[in-house]
Structure formats: structure tokens, C-alpha cells
């Protein structure tokens, strides 16, 4: 047995991979494997787990705030400043609740299901590129695919929860989740391939470096097909994340609460941690693959990074490198949270279709669109010469002459036009949202930051209520 084992070893990533920059910053060049082991465990237990929890708790509070504002009410505002501690209070309440298991349920599977739902959503964090070096495993060559794979396992927890509950509503919810997930994975995967084809790598850190030259080098603006593929991916990710309007597995109006009808207490909250962590992870794929990862719109991080890395390699201080990484992590989280906000906005705006309409939308609308995009993107790769390599290192992303010399004029013009289209679309949408948020047409004119609603109600409203 041990002979076989030693045959495996030289091929294992542990044996052949050189330490990442992060590990060298922390331990120097000659660290023992034990330190790496300790580092891995510490990062997972002390960074990723609290991060996933924090994101979930913040997003739950935020979702309720967004829902409140869309429905002309205030949302939680009693616990803590602007209700920020509401999720914590709910969490404490859920811990204190009795942990019920229905008598006829499959006891073992019923108890196992919430963890099966949460663990994959959490495991996907190891591949998310928070920064060029703030990535737990930058050497993972199949990063995007790995996250997709791990998210597809998450469904298992939901299906088991529905099945083990031994409840008709729950089983219906589980069945809907199964068929929704299996069918929406196809447009999801194909739209990812469209982006991957433009980039030529599955490694999330390499994807980030490729998009470092400013907003027009982001993959979403690389060609017209990736722009549409981004939206196809977004819609499909809503369905595979069971977010409204595709929240059929838990549609309250028909199935009580769908797959988690029978759950109470902490186990119930695990499903929500899983859901919000998965929302963030899906936002992370979109940010890393289409929206430039950790890069800012002007390409400053991509411009400064090679120099900072060179300094560190030459024995300089790691501080500039760490600063850039923190900046990058901020950009990345902002982008992810923007996507999460979009998911919330859609949830509280659109009504829920029937299950057959959901499947129709997948098989007869999204899937053909995705296939056409795949074909178009392949032809585009063939016909339009593009700039190869990492911006700032291989070419100057804002210098027209540089592009002209390499015969990539068409690519430059396309990318600039698409950027203008995309930025104006984004600007118009945000202006619209801001106008509606702060518009004085609302009767109950309240801001997200207003802690004390009742006293500040407009006089005419107070008069009308008497």
C-alpha cells in the first residue's frame, strides 16, 4: 500500500507546486509543510467561515431592507443602528428554538441535509479571487469549473431535505429544484464557455490578470456575444440558485415553504446561509469572469501590480502588494454585492412563473440563445484578431497605436463601443434606481438611513391617518 502511495506523491499538487506569494509573505521562503497545513486550516476556519456567515447575515438584512423600500415600507429598523443587528437577533432566536424532526421523516437524512446544502456553498470560496494574491488557491487551473461543480452539488442538500421530510409539499419543492437545476445548468455552462473562450483560461486568477487593463478589457465587453452571455448567465444563475422569479422550490403561495417546510431552528437557518452564500459565489463567478475580477475600471491595480510583485521578488517590502490586494478585494466584494443587489431587486419586482413556464424559458429560450452565442463567439474568435496576453505587461490597453500595430483595430473599436453601451446602460439603471429610492413622489418618504420613522412622517400623512 505504501509503495503505491509513494507513486502518487510526486504528482500531487502538494509535492510539486511552489508556494503562493501569500504563503511567502507570511512564512518567508523556507516554510515547513506543517506551517502550510496550519495556514490552510486557519484561513478556512478563521477567514472563510466567518466571511460566509457575515455575508449571509448582511445579505439577509439587506434583502429585507430592499424588500421594504420596494414595497414602500422601511424593513427592519429596531435592532441596532438602521436594523443592522436584526440578523444577529434572528440568529439567536433560531438557536434557541426547538429542533423538530417529524415523526415519519427519514431521521438521518433530515438531519444531514442542511449541512449538505451549506458545505458546498462554503467550499466554493476557496477559488474566488479576492485579489491577485488574496486567493486561497491561485494554482487551481479549473477555478471557474470547480465553482460550478461545487454549486451543482449544493442541490443535493435541498433535494434530500424535501425528500426526507416525508411531506407532499416538500417533495414537490425538491422535485422542482431537481428539474430546474438540471435544466438550467446547460445554459449556465454554455454561457460560461462563451466567456472562457474569449479569455482562454479557466484559472480565476489568470482571468483577473487578463482583465487588468481598464473597463474595456473586461471580458463582458470583449465582444458582443460575451455581453449577452453575461445576461444569459445571470438569468440562469437565478434559476440554479432558486432565487425569485425562479424560486419554485419554495414558492410560499403553493407549497407552504417548499423543501424547508418541516425545518425549524438552526437547521432552517443553514438553508438560508447556504442560499445567500451561493448568491455571493455566483456573483463572484460573474465578477471574476465578466466584470474584471478585482480590477478597478481604470486599470490602476493591473498597472501597479507587476511592479509591486517585482519589488517583492527582489526582496522589497510586501506592503505595496498587500495594499493592492486589499484594494482589489474591496473592488471584488463591491462587484459581487452589486450582483447580489440585482438579484434582490429582481426578486421583489417580478412575479413567479409556473414551473412549466420556467422550464419553457430554459429549454426554448435561454438554451437556443446560449447555443447561438457559443457559435457566434467561436466565429468572432476566428475572424477578429484580438490583443493577446496580460494588459500593461504585453500591451498598453489605452494606447490606440499599440492596438493598431498588432492588427487589433477591430477589437479596440468593438470594445470601446461595447463599453460605452454597457456603461450608459448601467448608469441609466442606477439613475433610475436612485430616482425611485429618493423620489419625492412617495408618500412615506424615508431613507435607508432613517432610524426613527414614525416621528418624521410627513405632516399630511399624519393628518390623513386621523
Amino acid at each position: 500500500m505504501s509503495g503505491l502511495l509513494y507513486m502518487l506523491l510526486p504528482m500531487s499538487p502538494l509535492a510539486q507546486a511552489s508556494p503562493t506569494v501569500m504563503e511567502r509573505v507570511l512564512f518567508g521562503d523556507a516554510a515547513s509543510p506543517f506551517q502550510y497545513l496550519l495556514y490552510s486550516v486557519a484561513i478556512i476556519a478563521m477567514v472563510f467561515l466567518p466571511l460566509a456567515m457575515l455575508i449571509a447575515m448582511f445579505s439577509i438584512w439587506w434583502e429585507r431592507k430592499v424588500a421594504g423600500h420596494i414595497q414602500s415600507r422601511l424593513g427592519p429598523n429596531r435592532v441596532g443602528p438602521i436594523g443592522l443587528l436584526q440578523s444577529l437577533a434572528d440568529g439567536i432566536k433560531l438557536i434557541l428554538k426547538e429542533d423538530l424532526v417529524p415523526k415519519d421523516a427519514d431521521n438521518l437524512l433530515f438531519r444531514l441535509a442542511p449541512y449538505l446544502a451549506f458545505a458546498p456553498a462554503f467550499a466554493a470560496f476557496v477559488a474566488l479571487p479576492f485579489g491577485p494574491n488574496f486567493t486561497y488557491e491561485p494554482r487551481l487551473n479549473v477555478g471557474v469549473f470547480w465553482v460550478l461543480a461545487i454549486l451543482s452539488v449544493e442541490v443535493m442538500g435541498v433535494i434530500l431535505a424535501g425528500w426526507a421530510s416525508n411531506n407532499k409539499w416538500s417533495v414537490y419543492g425538491a422535485m422542482r429544484e431537481a428539474c430546474q437545476m438540471v435544466s438550467y445548468e446547460i445554459p449556465l455552462g454554455i454561457s460560461i464557455i462563451v466567456g472562457i473562450m474569449a479569455a482562454g483560461t479557466l484559472n480565476m486568477v489568470a482571468l483577473g490578470h487578463l482583465q487588468g487593463g481598464g473597463i474595456h478589457t473586461w471580458l463582458i465587453y470583449r465582444n458582443p456575444f460575451t455581453l449577452i452571455a453575461f445576461f444569459v448567465f445571470f438569468i440562469a444563475s437565478l434559476a440554479s440558485n432558486k432565487r425569485a422569479p425562479f424560486d419554485l422550490p419554495e414558492s410560499e403561495s403553493e407549497l407552504v415553504a417548499g423543501f424547508h417546510t418541516e425545518y425549524s431552528g438552526l437547521r432552517f437557518s443553514f438553508f438560508f446561509f447556504a442560499e445567500y452564500a451561493a448568491m455571493f459565489v455566483v456573483g463572484g463567478i460573474q465578477a471574476a469572469l465578466f466584470l474584471g475580477g478585482w480590477n478597478d475600471p481604470f486599470g490602476a491595480i493591473g498597472y501597479l501590480y507587476p511592479e509591486a510583485l517585482r519589488d517583492f521578488e527582489a526582496g522589497g517590502s510586501p506592503l505595496p502588494l498587500i495594499g493592492l490586494n486589499i484594494l482589489g478585494a474591496g473592488m471584488f466584494v463591491i462587484k459581487c454585492m452589486g450582483i447580489v443587489f440585482l438579484q434582490m431587486w429582481i426578486r421583489w419586482t417580478l412575479p413567479r412563473p409556473r414551473i412549466d413556464q420556467v422550464l419553457y424559458a430554459c429549454v426554448k429560450v435561454l438554451l437556443p440563445i446560449a447555443c447561438v452565442l457559443l457559435l457566434g463567439a467561436a466565429l468572432w474568435q476566428l475572424l477578429v484578431p484580438e490583443m493577446a496576453g496580460v494588459p500593461w505587461v504585453k500591451y498598453h490597453p489605452w494606447n490606440w497605436n499599440d492596438w493598431k500595430e498588432q492588427g487589433a483595430r477591430g477589437a479596440f473599436v468593438t470594445q470601446i463601443i461595447l463599453t460605452i453601451v454597457g456603461v450608459s446602460l448601467f448608469g441609466a439603471t442606477s439613475m433610475w434606481a436612485a430616482y425611485n429610492l429618493f423620489s419625492s413622489r412617495r408618500n412615506l418618504k424615508q431613507r435607508l438611513t432613517d432610524p426613527d420613522p414614525i416621528d418624521k412622517a410627513p405632516a399630511n400623512l399624519a393628518a390623513a391617518s386621523h
Binding site: 427519514d106 451543482s152 443535493m156 433535494i159 431537481a178 428539474c179 412549466d356
Partner: protein, 203 residues
């Protein structure tokens, strides 16, 4: 203990992980065989597949590991459970194999085990030194090399497999469609309501 924790080598860590993943895969495979409840079997299978995916990771076959998760854990397993949900009459349907089936299964399993052990022991695997002597590009299974192999040297088998899958898909769609047309003709006569007509148009 004479050795300090700092003396742990990379080989040790990889070895622990090998036993961890191998143990998960093996233990859940045994549980899978011993369990009688179909859905519990599927859960055991999930852990087996996850353990094997971990072993692939140890071999630096990351792509294979991710494919293992997507295709088997995320796809096939869900379809198995989906089939159980659609077809089983009681929520916790059980397997009750007869004595003949048990004997047959044990015999077949034993033959397979012997064949596998013989195959593994007769094969000469490259030793650690030989693998280390290979150039870096030859070690491991980078995704781009896999893609070039699939669309280069092995294009014909790859395409034949995809055509086979296409045929299966068309066949399944045809079967489902034919049965539905029949059932709607017999069930809804001329007095078909507008609602059901619309529902049919959607599906």
C-alpha cells in the same frame, strides 16, 4: 515522540489526505452496498464520488475531479433521486434482494476484485524518481493538454460519443412526445377546455 511537528514532510500530508479521501470513498461504498433504502444509497454514493474526486485532486487531475462532481454528483445522482421520487409508491421504498441475487452479486464482485488486483499488481507504475525526471509540462493533466487531445488525436471517438448522446436524446424526446399525444387524444375529447389547451401549448 522524537520527531517535532516541523519535521512533517509534504509526503506525510499527501499521505494523510490519501487515507482520508480513500477512507471516505471506501467506507461510504460499503455503506452503499449494505443500505436498503434507495435514497440513503444515493447519499452514500455522493460521499463515494466526493472521496474519489478528492483522490483525483491529489493526483493533480483537477479537471477530472470537477467533472466527477458535475457529471456524477451533480447530474447522475440527482437524476437517480428524481427517478425515485417520480416512481416510488411509498416515501421510503426499500430494496429486498433475494438470496440468489445476493450470492450472484457477491460472486461477480469477488471476480471483479480479483481481476482488478491482478491488473494493478501486474502493471508497472512509474516510480517517484521517474516522474520527477519528466519535464514539468508532462506531469499532471493541464486542461489545455486535455482539450487539445480531445479535439486533436481523439477527435473521432469524441465525436462518435457525442453523436451517440444526441441519438439518445432525440429518442427520449420522441418517446415522450408520442406518449403525450396519445394520452391527450384519449383523455381530452373534443370538449377540451381553454385552460388545458393553453397548458399544453406551454409545455
Amino acid at each position: 515522540m522524537t520527531t517535532s511537528v516541523l519535521a512533517i514532510s509534504e509526503a506525510d500530508v499527501a499521505g494523510w489526505l490519501f487515507y482520508l479521501f480513500g477512507g471516505i470513498a471506501g467506507l461510504s461504498a460499503v455503506l452503499l452496498v449494505l443500505s436498503r433504502n434507495i435514497v440513503r444509497m444515493a447519499v452514500c454514493l455522493l460521499f463515494t464520488l466526493a472521496g474519489v474526486a478528492g483522490l483525483y485532486f491529489l493526483l493533480s487531475a483537477e479537471f477530472l475531479a470537477a467533472v466527477q462532481l458535475v457529471v456524477y454528483a451533480g447530474g447522475t445522482l440527482i437524476l437517480i433521486i428524481f427517478g425515485v421520487m417520480l416512481t416510488s409508491k411509498s416515501p421510503f421504498s426499500r430494496f429486498e434482494p433475494s438470496a440468489v441475487e445476493v450470492v450472484l452479486a457477491i460472486t461477480l464482485g469477488g471476480i471483479l476484485l480479483v481481476a482488478l488486483v491482478l491488473a494493478v499488481t501486474s502493471q508497472r507504475f512509474p516510480t517517484a524518481a521517474e516522474v520527477a525526471a519528466l519535464p514539468a509540462s508532462e506531469r499532471g493533466y493541464p486542461v489545455d493538454r486535455l482539450g487539445q487531445a480531445l479535439l486533436g488525436d481523439y477527435l473521432l471517438p469524441f465525436e462518435i460519443a457525442s453523436v451517440l448522446l444526441l441519438v439518445v436524446m432525440i429518442g427520449a424526446a420522441y418517446l415522450a412526445k408520442a406518449r403525450r399525444r396519445e394520452s391527450t387524444r384519449s383523455a381530452n375529447g373534443p370538449a377540451e377546455s381553454a385552460a388545458s389547451r393553453q397548458a399544453r401549448a406551454w409545455s
